[in-house]
Amino acid sequence: MEIVINIDDATPLFTQLMQQIKDAVLAGAVKPGDALPSIRQLANDLDLNSKTVAKAYRLLERDSVIQTRGYRGTFVHPEAKSNCSVDLNQWVNDSLNETVNRFREAGVTDSEIRIAFSNVMNSRLNIGEK
């Protein structure tokens, strides 16, 4: 199974990589338990920064599509096929869309929404720092 990325595409490289790996899982080209190339190997083969590949792998692990087993390497998650259809980014977009629409219906202005969103994000950041 070959990964193909286009460096001219508007889609971020790590997103392309994530999608390609998910497509491979859904197509059955890689099966649960199969080993995946290391971050270094994939970064070198695609001539990408290893941080780009690391980010893709981190997000795939968050989505339970892959799992890292320390020095033993990275493997396809046992539930990868069902987890591939869960798109966290899409869920965030949909949820925010719904919430913003409700605020607008209630008469809240866009600038008030932006200020409130910013305050919430900053307060989360402060809690995180503490």
Binding site: M1, I3, V4, V30
Partner: protein
């Protein structure tokens, strides 16, 4: 007298192999490449005008001919003047001459590195591909073949330690040679890992060709390490059994073995007619990694 004759014969083989046969095969390979894969049809293969490549090939042939001539003169001196080639003065001659013979090969390797570097700079491809498959070391060499490396290393270390009374005191010959051997083996092992997991030097190379090149390189490095370890074992052994007169012969054989394991093996196994040159065309439909 016997050692003198045998050393002369082996040194003659060294001169003919490294300064005649290897450059001949390399030149023929490059000639074939330039004649059958023109810059018009395969523009991505050439980063400079074709004249540059012809000129470099001419220089390579010329330098090898000079070295060959020097080698033949040395052999003639050995035969005509009956110079003792096994004596202390000529002990290092096969190694020294072998290093001179390596110069054109090192130069060629450097040219290849520059070529790939330019290819990467000029590469306009927006699509990048990689296999979603782990590259494992033992996919390219069998464990039994690889086992020769640590086995020969341990044998060399044990032999040296035994012959030098296990004297690992600071500054001792044993410690120095053990460390040199260890560092050399580690260095070559790292080169192997770089070949396996490192960046693709040639940005257009077909994945099958790359896999083949990795396999050939790993085999070559393992055999070079084994030869090096055995050589390190033979030298103190020859000293111990007072066979020092055979040292020039062993040095010469060592150079021939490492050249055979590396360059000759590469020339024979990476056949030009099996390489996918379509990747160097400009035609997009022809650029497929098969």
């Amino acid at each position: 007298m016997f050692e003198q004759t045998v050393t002369l014969i082996v040194f003659t083989f060294q001169v003919l192999f490294l300064s005649y046969l290897v450059p001949l095969k390399t030149s023929q390979r490059l000639d074939f490449l330039y004649k059958n894969y023109s810059p018009e049809e395969y523009p991505k293969l050439y980063t400079r005008p074709i004249d540059y490549y012809h000129k470099q090939l001419w220089i390579y042939r010329f330098v090898n001919q000079i070295i060959l001539l020097c080698g033949l003169v040395l052999i003639a001196i050995g035969i005509i003047l009956s110079v003792d080639l096994t004596g202390k003065l000529f002990k290092l001659m096969p190694i020294a001459f072998g290093m001179i013979e390596m110069i054109p090969l090192v130069w060629l390797e450097r040219m290849e590195c520059n070529q790939y570097s330019l290819m990467r700079q000029l590469n306009q491809e927006k699509r990048r591909t990689a296999e979603l498959k782990v590259r494992r070391f033992f996919d390219y060499i069998s464990p039994s073949q690889f086992a020769l490396l640590p086995a020969s290393f341990l044998a060399a270390q044990l032999m040296q330690a035994f012959l030098r009374d296990f004297d690992y005191s600071w500054g001792s010959k044993l410690l120095t040679s053990s460390l040199i051997l260890l560092v050399a083996n580690i260095f070559l092992s790292l080169v192997m890992l770089k070949k396996l997991y490192g960046k693709k030097r040639n940005p257009y190379q077909d994945k099958k060709d790359r896999s083949q090149e990795i396999e050939v390189s790993i085999h070559a490095i393992v055999y070079i390490c084994v030869a090096m370890n055995l050589f390190y074992m033979m030298i103190p052994l020859s000293n111990y059994y007072q066979l020092n007169s055979y040292e020039p012969l062993m040095s010469s054989l060592y150079f021939q073995v490492i050249t055979f394991a590396s360059i000759w093996n590469r020339l024979k196994r990476l056949r030009l007619d099996e390489i996918n040159f379509d990747v160097y065309r400009n035609d997009i439909s022809a650029i497929t990694n098969k």
